[in-house]
């Protein structure tokens, strides 16, 4: 939903970091987006590349990696993947906010809500 504003923030951040490092060119940008954010990676990439046009990042490769959701169950201590319900009724599988081990809803999301600029590669 917030792909455009997120992409603007990413672009500004990347360009400022490259400028501080006195880069002549940005070669690549590595982003990580959590599976529980409501950010569509393809749309983020599109807007980042649009924002970099006519900048030193215009030719950079933008790579987005997905961060798999990870939960901690406060009831039984399970740490691991969130489970999804595979039901043919739904085009996308439905996330289940419960512990796959003990079915408790007392879970804490440990991973999956991030939108991280991991690193950039620059040419000096």
């Amino acid at each position: 939903m917030h792909e455009f504003s997120t992409a603007v923030a990413i672009t500004e951040n990347v360009l400022n970091s490259a400028k501080r490092a006195r880069a002549k060119k940005i070669l690549s940008i590595r982003l990580e987006i959590g599976g529980l954010t409501l950010l569509n990676a393809e749309q983020v990439k599109f807007w980042v590349m649009e924002g970099l046009k006519e900048t030193i990042g215009a030719e950079s490769r933008v790579k987005i990696e997905n961060i798999n959701p990870e939960i901690l169950c406060k009831n039984c201590g399970y740490i691991g993947d969130l489970h999804f319900m595979d039901d043919p009724t739904y085009h996308l599988s439905l996330p289940l906010f419960t512990c796959p081990q003990c079915n408790s809803s007392k879970i804490e999301i440990k991973k999956g809500k991030e939108c991280v600029i991991r690193d950039i590669q620059i040419l000096k």
Binding site: L38, S105, I117, K124
Partner: protein
């Protein structure tokens, strides 16, 4: 001292590790500290446009105003219509007009908390902007989150918007008086909620008459 200078045309990797959504979470944690230091219980009320968020808060403030000193933060794009409705119940209301934004975020709540007299507040309702997607992404620092859905939004509201229920403590299924004319089953909606998050409490209401408001109050342990 060895000074290593980069050569012309050399390639460098710069680690940034910058999480753009982390800032909101940090401000939300600060908001929670502010609320706790003033002993204010804050409830974030989310739901789509027209689901009955304001009606629910209106009925809750009427039922609870003798037991709690209640304040409200009303999020809306441009109007004060909802804030005015609640203000009529002698509740202190701070309006946040987001302009074009589709959700409240922790920074807007931080500003609103500065405006409110927290010393004179025990219970704070935060009415989020009408939207079932974006508010899920932006915790505000509230102690509890409520999602209001209504039968007039159709039978698939829960399964189409599962992510709004991640951190939800109570789901209110509103307009149950219209269930048969809408041909939507509140029981099926309840089952859908249980599928995604079995422990979450569900209250079925008609916020125009006040039916089910007691269940909401019990569900929120107020």
């Amino acid at each position: 001292m060895h000074i290593i200078k980069s050569e012309e045309g050399e390639v460098f990797d710069i680690e940034l590790e910058e999480d753009l959504l982390k800032k909101n979470r940090e401000i939300a944690d600060k908001n929670r500290e502010t609320l706790d230091s003033h002993k204010v219980l804050a409830i974030d009320v989310m739901g789509s446009i027209g689901s009955g968020k304001t009606s629910l808060i209106e009925k809750l403030t009427k039922s609870l105003k003798d037991r709690y000193r209640i304040s409200m933060i009303a999020g809306d794009l441009t109007t004060t219509i909802d804030a005015d409705r609640i203000h009529r119940n002698e509740v202190e209301v701070t309006q946040i007009n987001t302009g074009k934004e589709c959700h409240l975020d922790a920074n807007l709540i931080k500003k609103a908390l500065n405006e409110l007299d927290l010393e004179k507040t025990d219970l704070l309702f935060i009415e989020n902007v009408g939207n079932l997607i974006c508010p899920a992404e932006f915790p505000l620092g509230s102690h509890k989150r409520v999602v209001v859905i209504s039968v007039s939004e159709g039978p698939y509201m829960v399964v189409k918007h599962p992510y709004i229920f991640i951190d939800t403590d109570l789901v209110v299924i509103n307009k149950i008086d219209l269930a048969s004319s809408m041909d939507v089953s509140p029981e099926n909606l309840t089952e859908d909620v249980a599928k995604i998050k079995p422990d979450v409490k569900v209250a079925k209401t008609n916020c125009r008459t006040g039916e089910g408001i007691g269940d909401v109050i019990r569900g929120l342990e107020l």
